[in-house]
């Protein structure tokens, strides 16, 4: 049985609220620099006067969740909820 450390995060879907700056392209690029990320999908869900709600889907082979949340906050966004998580066990344990 693999221990918890062996389980890797492969996909996380977050509901976030961010100001209009930094723009979505810069925001997604900065998030894509987080360790273990291979793909970032940022979709605007709602636009307000000062803010925008974004559905952020990140995929990778071993997502560093702590770094991901830290980067999101550093980019000025607030995390509303983590809506989906895909965790994988390494092949040797399957």
């Amino acid at each position: 049985m693999p221990d918890k450390q062996d389980v890797k995060l492969a996909k996380i879907v977050l509901d976030i609220l961010k100001p209009h700056t930094p723009p979505l392209v810069d925001f997604a690029k900065e998030i894509a620099n987080v360790d273990g990320l291979l793909r970032v999908d940022a979709t605007i869900v709602e636009v307000d006067t000062e803010t925008e709600s974004v559905k952020l889907t990140v995929e990778g082979n071993d997502i560093n969740l702590e770094k991901l949340l830290e980067t999101i906050k550093r980019m000025g966004a607030a995390i509303h909820s983590i809506d989906q998580v895909v965790a994988e066990r390494p092949l040797r344990h399957r």
């Binding site: 609220l17 100001p19 930094p22």
Partner: protein, 201 residues
């Protein structure tokens, strides 16, 4: 080295963009170059009306004015833009219902104000010293003192013309028309200085 400069420029442009001060900085740049050019040229033209004014006196008066513009531009803009950034951050924080002091938005606000202030101060200082350049050179090569006024005049008009070109490109207007407009403003300023000198003796 080149990569370092490029990275620094990317960082500066990002701070300006995120803080919304990119347009403000461009406006400050144009205004300050205009101010610096006309102020220095005003000193040059005015000083030439007094018989026996040496290039050293003109350079001293001009550099004094340039330094004063540098200090006033940097400090005044920094205080104004920092206050604007803080106000903007508070508005965003209220909308986000979160403290954003540690975010890139707050960081961009502080650095953006600093960069805009430096652009404002340095633009007027550089413009003024560029117009004074023929007089500065004439301190080392006195033989060119005779043509320093004409050289300063040419530099000032060339700078105004370039400024017009930049403005036309930004506003997508006719480059030649805008550049000539700027030239005319410069000539108007010079005419007023000459008239003032004429009436005050």
């Amino acid at each position: 080295m080149l990569r370092l400069i490029k990275a620094l420029l990317v960082r500066i442009s990002r701070f300006l963009k995120y803080s919304g001060k990119d347009i403000v900085a461009r406006r400050y740049f144009v205004l300050s170059v205009f101010d610096g050019t006309l102020a220095a040229f005003g000193i040059v033209v005015g000083a030439n009306f007094v018989r026996g004014t040496s290039p050293a006196t003109i350079v001293a008066a001009g550099i004094g004015a340039a330094v004063a513009m540098l200090i006033s531009g940097v400090t005044g803009t920094f205080m104004t833009e920092t206050a604007e950034s803080k106000k903007r951050l508070k508005e965003i924080e209220e909308a986000m219902l979160a403290d954003m002091d540690e975010s890139i938005v707050a960081e961009a606000g502080s650095y953006g104000a600093m960069i805009a202030a430096l652009i404002n101060g340095l633009a007027s200082f550089t413009a003024a010293t560029t117009v004074l350049l023929p007089y500065i050179i004439s301190l080392f090569y006195p033989e060119i003192a005779g043509i320093a006024l004409y050289a300063a005049f040419a530099i000032a008009l060339a700078m105004l013309f370039t400024l017009g070109t930049i403005l036309a490109k930004v506003s997508r207007q006719n480059i030649l028309a805008m550049s000539i407009k700027m030239l005319l403003v410069g000539l108007l300023a010079i005419t007023l200085i000459l008239l003032l000198q004429f009436f005050t003796g």
